[in-house]
């Protein structure tokens, strides 16, 4: 099945990027507000000290990265079915934004781990699988950059995106499946969240703002892709 979309125009791209940039700016201000909430209005954890406050950035960044990578896989699967170029454009945007959030997750994790675990990094299942996922999507972006034929690029990257999607549940469940230093989920788990209300509130505010930032970044990046496609269509005419 093939969905035929009208060729995009530069005006459309301009409107989309403008909307995305505005949304991202609002979300960045929201994240700054979440930081104020975390630093000034949330109690300090007794055993971990101030380093525990990295939690309010590390967990939302991990959530956004896994959301981004999952949606790349879902959009890739839908692309293979529908062959709609909008899905491919979305996948490219979500993968790039996911890599940015994964970079936050993979840098704040070791900074938090050092004072608590006594080491920056350990090759346990959760950390290693997360690093693999990051490399897989860096490879995804490299693959997209290397293939010039639009349909071939979309097909190959859709398959790689689905592979990434298959890895996401292993990353989330790795703390149950293997012995690991990484703590188990405290919010996304079958029972009630095991956090005091003030900490949970700050985590939720930060997670909402990171999710909004994901939407803003993806919208902007989608608009950039739209502009590139609009130029390509115009030059082909």
């Amino acid at each position: 099945m093939t969905a035929i979309a009208r060729p995009p125009t530069l005006d459309q791209a301009r409107a989309v990027t403008r909307r995305g940039l505005a949304m991202s700016a609002v979300a960045l201000v929201g994240i700054a507000g979440a930081c104020v909430l975390a630093l000034g209005f949330t109690p300090t954890e007794a055993r971990q000290g101030l380093a525990q406050k990295i939690f309010y950035l590390h967990v939302p960044a991990a959530w956004s990265a896994l959301l981004a990578f999952s949606l790349v896989g879902v959009a890739g699967a839908l692309y293979l079915w529908l062959e709609d170029s909008r899905l491919d454009r979305f996948s490219a945007a979500s993968a790039e934004v996911g890599v940015a959030f994964a970079a936050v997750m993979l840098t704040t994790g070791p900074i938090w781990a050092k004072p608590i675990w006594g080491t920056w990094w350990t090759w346990d299942a959760r950390l290693t699988l997360t690093l693999f996922l990051f490399f897989l999507f860096v490879g995804y972006l490299a693959l997209r950059a290397a293939i010039h034929d639009r349909q071939e690029r979309a097909r190959f990257s859709a398959v790689l995106g689905i592979m990434g999607l298959l890895l996401v549940p292993f990353v989330h469940l790795s703390v149950y499946l293997f012995r690991t230093l990484h703590p188990q989920p405290i919010v996304l788990k079958p029972s009630a969240p095991s956090l005091p209300w003030e900490m949970l509130r700050t985590l939720l505010v930060s997670t909402v703002m990171f999710t909004l930032l994901y939407v803003g970044y993806v919208t902007t990046r989608y608009g950039i892709g739209l502009a590139a496609d609009a130029r390509e269509h115009r030059d082909a005419d």
Binding site: A25, R47, Q48, A51, T107, I111, W112, L213, Y217, G223
Partner: protein, 45 residues
């Protein structure tokens, strides 16, 4: 007797600064690319 939390605020500051650097840096990169990509091109006279 309650114990004092460990003094490790430097790690917290580093974590927040690194996050700000990546998120704002990526925003600026998107802003630059967006401006460049949607800029109208003037054709030859």
């Amino acid at each position: 007797m309650p114990t004092e939390p460990p003094a490790n605020g430097g790690y917290m500051v580093a974590g927040y600064l690194v996050t700000a650097g990546i998120l704002i840096g990526y925003y600026l990169s998107l802003l630059r690319r967006a401006r460049k990509s949607v800029k109208s091109e003037k054709g030859p006279p």
